[in-house]
Amino acid sequence: MSGAAPDSAGIDRLYAKLNAEAEKSGYHLNPDIEFTRSLVEGLLTNMCRYGYMACPCRLASGVRAQDLDIICPCDYRDPDLSEFGACYCALYVNTAILQGKQELKPVPERRGRKMVEKNQESMSTGGVTIKLSQPVWRCKVCGYLCGRGEPPEICPICKATKDRFERFV
């Protein structure tokens, strides 16, 4: 286990990279800079320890195959953003929280529970029925498709808003 603390310049570099990528893709980092820098520091610590950026707010096993779902951005980020406005550790937040219109509250741990598949459906094509684990949403502007409980807040490709998505399948 490495004891070296990530340096300030390294935290700044990763913060800037994550922030630029988030904004480019329709996501937002938590606007509380001190809070977010601490999370970024935790990501770097885990990178040193485990060789991958496990969520700083979860107990990683150290075995990549067992921790795949909690490597940031984790499998639970998008459903948590849809339901609670923030991901589990609150590195990512929705626009309402970004703008201070919604309060940031603790997000319950979704890991280990069966993922909600409320919109599970079957699709029939040419006599073949395919069972879908998630509905498919289509951005009516650019055609971007994604399979998840709800469409994203902002289309990561063309930046159209959530209400411009249609249920595709």
Binding site: M1, F35, S38, L39, E41, G42, T45, N46, P56, C57, R58, L59, A60, C89, A90, P106, P108, E109, R111, G112, R113
Partner: protein, 92 residues
Amino acid sequence: MARVTVPGVNKGNVMLFALSTCVWCGKTKKLLDEMGVAYTYEYVDLLAGKDRDAAVKEIMVWNPACSFPTLVLNNEKCIVGFKEDEIRQALA
């Protein structure tokens, strides 16, 4: 890393299971410090092998999801997550 006891006002047995990298755990620890209560904390991510297994087993009695922070009060009550109001109330 072994358990660390922080001195303060005795409010019974206050045990905080935390991760050294977790910001919500840090907030919980800071709140307990501000409130001046005596507590013990353990950074479970800094434990290895049998020590870690034992800590995880202990946490799962209270919080099967084994999420952090898990705060166990007097071996009776468990508060999962940084719930400031609930923590203040329980340790008033």
